[in-house]
Every structure is written in C-alpha cells, then in structure tokens.
Symmetry: C2
Subunit: 203 residues, 2 copies
C-alpha cells in the first residue's frame, strides 16, 4: 500500500532523474533530507532555484559562468592564443585543477554522436572554426576524451581545422601515472608503445 507521502514521492521521483541515482538511493537521500532540519532543504532549494538564473555561457569559450567573459577568458595572465577544446565544463574543471595549462578554453558541450542525433551543429563547432580563422589563435589543443566518440570528435575537428593556419595538438595517450604496467589495458599499452618517447641520457 501507499506508505510514502506524496510530497516525499515527488522528491524521490525528481532525484531518480539524476545520473547514477536509482530509486533506492533516491529514497535514501529523500529520507535523509526529511530527517535533517527544514532549513537545509530550503537552502538547497534556493540554490537550485537560483542556479540557471545566475549562470550563463561565456560568449568567448562557452563555459558556464556568472560573468561574460568568464574568469579565465577575462584574465590577462592567460594566453588567449592557446585554446584547449574540451567536451564539457567538467573536463575544463579537471584540467584547471592540474594547474598545467595557461591558455584559454573552448567548450563543445558534447561529442559527435550520430546515434543520439548529435552532429557538429548541436555542438559549439562553428564557433570554434570562427575562433580558429579569426587570426587570434596560434594553437588548438584538442582535449576530448580518449573514448570512441571523443576520438571521432577529435578527428572531425582535426579535419575541419586542417585548412586553417592554426597549429593543432592532442593530449598525449599512454600509461596513467602510478599505474602498474600489468594492470594497464591492452589498448592503452599498445598506444603507449606506439607513442614511445626518446629518453634523453643524463651524462
């Protein structure tokens, strides 16, 4: 019989729509929220309500930002002539965490996936081409994932950008740092052998 109150059931249904959260986890989360003080739920509600109103796309790199240009595009210490192309803002966050990149970004907002009906028109590809041909960019580092759709998107971008005079690069593939070789998958290992690098001897 109906033991879950409708208001709780609605929240569970909302939470079940989130990625990686099934009905059981959603129930657990909803009950947890209900057991906690009402102010916590109302804070979360207010932050969710404000989210889309506060955040828009930077009109240079198309990342999520409250300002236009975003903090990175507007930062004079970043190199605007080096553009790193990523699939999603989450990838940009991951790269920023390394502190190893001093250029700017271009967010595609997805990968080419014909089965899901996502072609270049659904992504920020036209905008990338415009940046590449505007004379303001020297190098484009394609940092899509090393998955099948990520590689396909990288190939497509390389194809449309090869006519421009921009230098194209791609993230290196190989053994992850700290990984035992016997646990590396065969594709990664094959790629690491193929892309092997010359060791400079210490004299």
């Amino acid at each position: 019989m109906q033991v879950i109150p409708p208001a709780l059931e609605r929240l569970i249904a909302d939470l079940t729509k989130l990625p990686g959260i099934g009905h059981k986890s959603a129930t657990r989360l909803a009950l947890y929220i209900l057991r906690r003080p009402a102010t916590e739920a109302k804070n979360l509600a207010a932050d969710l309500h404000a989210l889309h109103d506060a955040i828009h796309l930077c009109q240079q790199c198309y990342t999520f930002s409250e300002t236009n240009p975003c903090m990175i595009c507007g930062n004079p210490s970043r190199d605007p002539r080096l553009v790193c192309v990523v699939e999603e803002p989450g990838d940009q966050i991951a790269i920023e965490k390394t502190g190893a990149f001093r250029g700017v970004y271009h967010i595609l907002h997805g990968v080419i996936a014909p089965i899901d009906g996502i072609g270049p028109e659904e992504l920020k590809v036209r905008e990338l081409y415009q940046r590449a041909t505007s004379g303001t960019v020297d190098e484009i580092l394609i940092a899509t994932s090393s998955t099948v759709p990520g590689e396909a998107t990288a190939s497509y971008l390389a194809d449309i950008l090869k006519g421009t005079d921009v230098h194209l690069s791609r993230l290196a593939c190989g053994i992850p740092m700290g990984m035992d070789i016997k646990y590396a998958d065969e594709h990664t290992l094959a790629k690491a052998i193929e892309s092997r690098q010359t060791v400079h001897r210490l004299i």
Copy 2:
C-alpha cells in the same frame, strides 16, 4: 584558479552534505542539473522547498505523513493490535513492500547509540511504552536491524516491555533467501543453526 562559478559552487557544497555523495559526485550532479533545462532544477527546488511543510509525524506511529493519522494507522483493514517497531521510516517502507505485514507500526527514529549521545529519551521509546500499556496492543514485533546498535535497542525494548502483558516478538535471523551457504558469514550461519526449524514431513 577559480573556474567554478559561485552559484554552482554553492550547489556543489549543498550536495556534498548528502550521504554517499562526495565532492566529485556532487560536481557531476550539479553540472548535470545545469546542463538540463532550468524547469527541471526549479521543479526539484519547489519539491524540496515544500517537503518539510507538507510532511509531519503521524501522532500514532510517528512515521512521516501528510495526514494524521497516517494512511496505515487510519486504514481499518490493518490490525491495530499488532505493532511493528522499526528504526526509521525507510525500514517501514521496506517491510510494506513485502506485503507480508498486516499490522501497524511504531517508528523509533533511530537506535540507542551512547557514543553519539542517543539514549531512549531521544527516540520514541516513551511513546512505545505508552502504547504497550494502553491496553490497545496485543503483540509488539521488534524489527530493529540485526546490527550491534539494532540488537542493543531490541534488548532495551524487550527489557522495558517485559513487565507489560503484551506479547513480544523479533524478526527471525538466518540465511537470506537465495543465498549460497558457502557465502554466508559465520555469524549468520551460526544464528541459522541455533534457530533451526523442524521440517514437517510430507507423507
């Protein structure tokens, strides 16, 4: 550098407070919500905002409910003389799913955990004693978890209720249905042997 907009950062911080959601999962969820239409975030916000206003405790069994008494306590086809004591509303939901219980409930809202400063006064124990001594209950089925605090709470309840003329019972412990015996843990197996049941021969 600060690449995550403050409004997104606030939502990530809110989500990180939920059980089982670390900073990485919270970031993934928040970015997912941001990529989806604003109406979905606003729906979730509205349901969260309404949650505590809509749901209160049933004044008979102390479960979360929009009505008082709740759907179960107010249902004339349930047996009000058989009371199942559970730790949390989530346990009640699990028992209701089985369809095997036709009585009513009593929600303790926790277990006795002296280390966390939770004694019987923090739980609905006094209210259970009042129900047990009101002459309206024949049997109390203690359905706390078979964990250390669950068993301790069950012992405590059995102790305070033994002076009443209510019949006390406890959920059976043993091998889970469908489990291969060689994978059962030794405590469960020992309990199953100790609580072995007579097989009635088919003639």
